[in-house]
């Protein structure tokens, strides 16, 4: 029973926490919405499928669903244990803190990728039938996985610093990425949304220009890795010095 055994325990435990609760059901229902819209689109119109599919991807999946699901899971994988007090059971064991952080981030990123990725893939296959769709499906799922990892890492580190992690993360997503990045082009460098679009647009073989991406593939990968890496280091450092809440 080596190091991988402990990591696997933490991963399985966190997965059961993440999927055992109501929020998993809600997240799956939310994931059904892009599919519903795609079905309506196919029934009513079907015009300009590539342009509309890009709108679908950017308009609801990448701007709203992905950050929302990633932040909800990301702030709860560790934040829920802190709130409930069960974090103590992990901390009083001879387990390297980096394994706890890594397991928590990976569970949040995996569940987000599965829920949002499947949602995007099914919706795109409906709205963009035929081989044209496959390229965009692959590109968008890879982009979503990349974004899920970065958002989840940010969410985990936020949950170690504040009990209001979810609202702080949502303020970042909807004010910074949603409003400010639309007004001031320079802030797009610090927008996870743009890292997702950069990866997805670069990998889409058909119509890379349909997505409003402003960063190259290298930029999206490099900046995203920088953000995720820094957040992970910060989270491990913070957990190593974590103090249980004594006073309410």
């Amino acid at each position: 029973m080596g190091r991988n055994g402990v990591f696997r325990q933490l991963f399985v435990l966190t997965m059961r926490q993440a999927l055992g609760r109501r929020r998993a059901v809600i997240a799956v229902l939310a994931g059904a919405i892009p599919v519903l819209v795609a079905v309506i689109y196919r029934l009513v119109s079907g015009e300009d499928p590539q342009g509309w599919s890009a709108d679908l991807l950017n308009g609801i999946v990448v701007t709203t669903l992905l950050p929302l699901v990633a932040l909800i899971f990301g702030t709860s994988v560790l934040g829920g244990e802190i709130e409930d007090g069960t974090i103590v059971y992990l901390l009083v064991r001879p387990v390297p803190r980096r394994e706890i952080v890594a397991a928590k981030i990976l569970v949040a990123a995996t569940t987000t990728t599965v829920i949002v990725g499947v949602s995007a893939a099914v919706a795109l296959l409906v709205s963009l039938p035929g081989s044209a769709g496959y390229g965009l499906v692959v590109a968008s799922v890879v982009g979503i996985a990349w974004g899920a990892l970065i958002y989840a890492t940010i969410a985990v580190v936020l949950s170690l610093f504040t009990t209001h992690a979810l609202i702080v993360g949502l303020i970042y997503v909807y004010l910074w990425e949603g409003v400010i990045a639309g007004l001031f082009a320079g802030t797009r460098l610090a927008s996870v949304h743009q890292y997702v679009l950069g990866v997805a647009a670069a990998l889409d073989p058909i119509q890379p220009s349909a997505l409003p991406a402003h960063l190259s593939l290298a930029g999206s990968v490099g900046l995203g890795a920088l953000v995720a890496g820094a957040a992970t280091v910060l989270a491990v450092w913070r957990l190593a010095g974590f103090e249980v809440a004594e006073r309410p």
Binding site: I33, Y41, G79
Partner: protein
Amino acid sequence: MSADGPGAVSADRIGTSGSIYDLGYQRYRGQRLGRAYAFRSLYLHGLAASFGIGRSTRSKVIPIGLFAIALVPALIELGVTALAGEALRPVRLDNYFSLVGTVMVLFGAAVAPELGSRDQRHHVLSLYFSRALERRDYAVARLAALLTAMLAIALIPEFVLYLGTALVRSDPVSYLSNNADQPGLILGSGIVVALQVTGVALAIASLTPRRAYATGGIVAYWFIADGLGSLIASITPPPTAAASQFTSWTHDAVLLSPSLVGDGAVRWFFGTAPEDALARADLAGWVYVLAALVYAAIGIAVVLRRFHRIAA
């Protein structure tokens, strides 16, 4: 404290017999202020809690920060107008909600759980309901507190913009008299959108004791419904033989988007033409006002029902 202070009924502490020490506890003999006073207290306490007043500094950062952010567009607009005249008017009273609606929703997501979920989480509802307060009073006081806080965010920046615009001018008095209808429109439109956000936010918050679920639920509902409404509304069927058929039922899906509903309602108050998706939908302006009020009414009904039925 009574004349014979604590310890007056002293006894040998080491003795084996029991002894009772008078610690000065007394019954309350003052006037009991009743239901209206309890309601007012709960309302004022909820309003203060909305901005983190009476809580730690950390609890104040988010609500007061969001309030400050809602003021930013007005201040930028006033600064630009003061320096460069008013050639450009990107920030106006009729589009202010479309700029800061997101801030209002985030404010609701941050604050509504404090008002609607927290007491459930800490199992203290029974303490309220066992007082002079009735269940409905509790629900109404919570709604009124959030609505007042929301009105502050909806109205204060717009009044700052309105009065500031007058002051930037060379003749503020004539500006104010020429635009004497504006305060009424700000008030009317502000009340409608504040009611809509308040109803939705507190309804979702009241359904769960967990703050994180409430926050997530409010934001999820609002922005997913926004995306859903705009996307469906963007679908136009291909022109058929009847080429005049440019409109489609899908365009009416703007009514699913809470932001577009609020935007349409505000534009109706100020009498400005709708744009983009709202223009395509081509609905009468009052429909948005009605829709906003219907959302508010559903939310309020959910809150009242929830606190009427909840086991406490």
